[in-house]
């Protein structure tokens, strides 16, 4: 599974999944910490919808970590102050980079987690739609 999709699942879903996947790698391989979890900023670039141009809305606090497995460097980046998750994401990223056999087994777990996320998001949106206005024109 490619990085964009798996990071969506690992960050939006239950954080225990990232912990579990990272732990299975730590138990089997040597994971060298290149950069310990540290805080930094990401500048957010946006497109405005009036004239379709770009501008910077501001910065967001992130936690970043880097880990090396089998000469492959993995990076973990997450919004907020989340040291553990950043490190777990870096380990998982390195595992994919090193093409470790575990990553093939993870596929089904990640897809299952993705379905749960989508279901929860749809449920949350359906709940919000209870506040949808149903206009009726009144006779005067």
């Amino acid at each position: 599974m490619k990085r964009r999709r798996r990071t969506e699942i690992l960050i939006q879903g239950d954080e225990r999944l990232a912990d579990r996947l990272a732990q299975s790698i730590i138990d089997t391989y040597e994971c060298r910490e290149i950069v310990a979890p540290q805080y930094g900023l990401t500048m957010i670039k946006m497109r405005e919808s009036a004239k379709n141009s770009l501008f910077y809305i501001g910065e967001v606090l992130i936690t970043e970590a880097k880990v090396e497995i089998d000469n492959c460097i993995g990076i973990g980046i997450v919004v907020g102050m989340k040291d553990e998750l950043a490190k777990q994401l870096a380990i998982i990223d390195a595992a994919y980079k090193a093409d470790l056999p575990e990553t093939t087994i993870w596929e089904s777990q990640l897809i299952e987690a993705e379905q749960i996320i989508k279901k929860e998001q749809a449920k949350k949106q359906a709940e919000l739609f209870k506040t949808k206005v149903s206009f009726e024109t009144m006779e005067v």
Binding site: R4, T7, L41, A50, S53, G58, L61, M81, A122
Partner: protein, 371 residues
């Protein structure tokens, strides 16, 4: 004018800082960060927006440290931000990726997808709720449980819906001008000082991090005649947008190799502004332009006011203060304006003495032209 160093205040300053701590602690109550995060949503959003740093946790900490002073909290956040590295710039956040929590239009009753009120104070009675004085955790838990049960009967959507903008429908009808996608790299005002005339990207960045009260007041001033913009709100949206960053290694720059890093909540507004333009026959015709407003968190008044000022500054006119970009952009920042005003209370002994000396000399009649 020069500055003259003086000493003698060290002990007094130390005592003053101790006194400040005493003021925060003397009530012998501790407000937890998580309490601020759970209950002070509006303040957190305002601090994040004005400091231009999205971090609810740090915003809550700054509010705690500043004892609720907004200007102090924003100052603390800006100062903290300046200590952090900025290793990444995000990929462009496209507005249509917003997962909408609230969406209303003042221009159309029926908008495709419907008007969703979400959570809003708009329809509440502005009466103090005296029941909150004796609020009990158990009662709140019971309320939450009942609310969850109410929601249980709602039929789930099959999948999440993403809503096109109201303005997109009007553009399809040819009622609004279409603009080509413009990928000109924006200027970052935190890296490059403002030069006038400014670019659109600079204006939007200054406005979105402007002090809420100032943005609102100047937007209001435009409506009252100190500007020429009186819009109708086309759409107000509140929701979350996903943030992606590129891998630092250029070999991994495909969209699928990007990092998803999380989401931020924003309020976004498009205001429709009527303007008169001359057509081919040299006759005046009514057209609409769009004013754009956006800010971190849920702060609809600020975003609407920003959309007014955006439109004002697109049509500079020195006859109106809200159309004067130097006037608006140089006075709208919280840290700059509160910093400059509050520095006036710091010692100005020498400059003031010099002015006093001048007045004394005038009074004594020893001016050069008399001698």
């Amino acid at each position: 004018m020069g500055y003259v160093p003086v000493k003698g205040g060290t002990q007094a300053i130390e005592a003053s800082i101790k006194r400040l701590k005493y003021e925060r602690l003397k009530g012998q109550e501790i407000i937890e960060i998580k309490t601020i995060m759970s209950t002070m949503r509006g303040m957190i959003d305002q601090v994040m927006s004005e400091s231009s740093l999205y971090s609810p946790y740090l915003a809550a900490l700054s509010i705690k440290q500043a004892e609720g002073s907004m200007e102090e909290a924003v100052f603390l956040m800006r100062a903290h931000r300046s200590t952090l590295p900025r290793p990444y710039y995000s990929k462009t956040v496209e507005p249509e990726t917003m997962l909408v929590e609230r969406r209303v239009s003042a221009s159309f009753k029926d908008i495709p997808g419907g008007q969703v009120l979400g959570a809003t104070y708009d329809y509440t009675h502005r009466l103090l709720d005296l029941n909150l004085i004796e609020e009990k955790l158990e009662e709140n838990q019971q309320w939450l449980q009942n609310y969850q049960e109410e929601l249980r009967d709602i039929e789930d959507f099959e999948e999440v819906k993403y809503f096109p903008k109201v303005v997109d429908y009007l553009r399809e009808e040819g009622l609004f001008e279409e603009y080509e996608v413009n990928n000109t790299p924006p200027i970052d005002i935190t890296k490059q000082s403002l030069q006038f005339p400014t670019t659109r990207s600079e204006r939007l960045q200054v406005l979105t991090r402007g002090q809420t009260g100032t943005v609102t007041s100047l937007g209001y001033a435009s409506l009252r005649g100190y500007g020429q913009v009186h819009p109708t709100v086309g759409e107000v949206r509140v929701g979350t947008v996903p943030i992606y960053v590129e891998h630092p290694n250029k070999m991994e720059h495909s969209a699928e190799d990007e990092f998803y890093i999380g989401e931020i909540k924003v309020t976004e507004v498009e205001s429709f502004v009527p303007i008169n333009v001359k057509n081919e026959n040299n006759e005046y015709e009514l057209e609409f332009e769009i004013g754009y407003g956006i800010c971190y968190g849920q702060n609809e008044t600020k975003a609407i006011a920003m959309s007014i000022l955006d439109q004002c500054l697109e049509h500079t006119d020195s006859d109106f203060p809200t159309h004067d970009e130097e006037f608006v952009l140089l006075h709208i920042d919280s840290v700059e304006s509160t910093g400059f005003i509050s520095h006036l209370k710091l010692p100005h002994y020498v400059t003031f003495q010099s002015k006093l000396d001048s007045i004394r000399q005038v009074k004594k009649g020893v001016q050069g032209n008399e001698s």
